[in-house]
Symmetry: C2
Subunit: 316 residues, 2 copies
């Protein structure tokens, strides 16, 4: 698959940071930044931009805050054509503290939002746009929030928002190819002036397959992470996506080397990937939080009971 | 997805046996047979029917031969509506030694064949059919063997063969959704009197996604294994397939319990699943044998060099 407009965004450090309180050391982050840059990926997302009034630096590592000077330490001396991205959550960032894009190493700000918060997301994206950043809105938990409310949100975005891409985020790892196709078509139908993005979760081993499906139906912004790292089941593996895309600008080899050197040892320390409780949460269209709690308990391998607990009673 | 004609075939012991010389102990095989039967799966494949003149019982476990009395030990006293299947390779079985189906615990014989051997496969399938067995032909390595030769083979099968289903076998884990769709449509177009089957390999985490794709386009015989066990990257995970299919006859819970009790400990002893050299073989449309050799060497994590060795020289 080759399409000039396709953009790959690596969110290894940002989504991977959800497993370890954003506490990767700077050497590791530089290794990721270097290898992913060499592989020809378009954007590299390093973390969240959160207010230090809301979160403690004692509790969270630097990628929870993404200060400009920390990002400068990452990129310093490394040749790269990739743009730097950060993510923001609604209500957790002091926009006044954020410099103009021209004075910052950050190129893009992605606003994560539920459908119900779309007014706030549009306002935030537009504020960052005014400061000179590229922006996206990433609509989370979309397997739950479909129907009229979503359609109205998309129309409002198309009318009012300056974001360049709007993402379908399969937070629960619950979409199949047909539901992915349906959503991409719906987004493209309404968002005439914007690109459509796709961010999969790998609960049911469908993150890569659904990303391919999204590409086939016209999504041009694609998220992936090295070796699929990310919260719970993780994400679409970057090495598979780069292996699939035929654009000659991509080179899988630096990613393969990075996995050997850094991610095989890391996987022994922190857990992500195809793990049955996350698969169960995905097939039941549930947030992974109960599965994550199970994995920290002494019942971590009691899959049948976990399934029965989710299906026999109301969970919310 | 609910379609009356859909049949699920569990090949846990057969394909899993390719990792350990078919040497599962009888207690383990009975646990698999019991749980998979309880889950409502239609066929359970226990191994290969090979001639003992060609393979030594000292070197291989009982599931390389699938003697009737061994299969009787598996099924004895376990309530089951599932039919028992075995696989045969061309030139490796003495058909004269095989009893009539009415005198055997085996219900189905599946003939594994490359396109080039399709004459022999048809003859074998017809011989087993005459003995009263249900039969299929499983066309291996199909990502390599497409084009006119495949089309002619399918026409010959439709004309001459009594097999009830013909399988697309993605031996190299190399198919994507579009290639899966194309093959299923081609098979259905020619094989008017037969069912189409799909057997995926999980090199690129697409075995489940491609199985869904095959279902969407009309394949009705679907292979899967518990926790995706199988040679190299393994197969479509049965728990995901059963979670996806909406036929009320299926029950995922016995499979979940089986994974907790038997497959989590087993995975610590033998290796299968998403492992980068198998992913590389899949994306390059190569047999996994070189990747399997790498995994047994001291360079097992040298992914970049492995990739370069496959792409810089001819490998066959």
């Amino acid at each position: 698959m080759y399409r000039e407009q396709l953009k790959v965004l690596d969110c290894t450090i940002r989504d991977g940071g959800l497993i370890n309180n954003h506490d990767f050391d700077i050497k590791f982050v530089r290794e990721v930044y270097r290898a992913v840059s060499q592989s020809g990926v378009d954007y590299i997302e390093l973390g969240y931009k959160n207010s230090k009034k809301l979160f403690s630096e004692k509790e969270y590592g630097p990628w929870k805050f993404c200060d400009d000077d920390v990002i400068n330490q990452v990129v310093d001396g490394i040749e790269s054509d990739a743009k730097v991205s950060v993510m923001v959550d609604i209500g957790r960032v002091d926009i006044a503290d954020v410099k103009l894009a021209k004075d910052s190493p950050i190129d893009m700000v992605r606003v994560a939002s539920y459908v119900k918060d779309i007014d706030k997301a549009i306002a935030m994206a537009n504020d960052f746009h005014k400061k000179g950043y590229e922006t996206t809105i990433n609509i989370m938990a979309i397997s739950r929030d479909q129907g009229l409310e979503l359609t109205q949100a998309l129309h409002q975005i198309e009318k009012e928002c300056e974001a360049k891409a709007i993402y379908i985020v399969d937070s629960f790892g619950s979409l199949y190819q047909e539901s992915t196709e349906d959503l991409v078509k719906q987004f493209k139908d309404i968002l005439k002036t914007k690109e459509v993005g796709f961010h999969g979760h790998n609960n049911q081993q469908l993150a890569f397959g659904n990303t391919i499906e999204a590409i086939i139906h016209g999504a041009n912004f694609l998220d992936a992470t090295v070796y699929g790292i990310g919260r719970a089941a993780g994400n679409c593996p970057l090495e598979l996506l780069v292996g699939f895309l035929k654009n000659p600008k991509f080179d899988i080899r630096p990613i393969l080397e990075l996995i050997s050197k850094e991610f095989i040892p890391l996987r022994d320390k922190i857990e992500w990937g195809y793990i049955i409780p996350y698969a169960i949460a995905g097939m039941l269209n549930e947030h992974p939080k109960l599965a994550m709690a199970l994995r920290k308990s002494e019942h971590k391998e009691n899959y049948r009971e976990f399934y029965e607990s989710l299906t026999s009673t109301e969970t919310e």
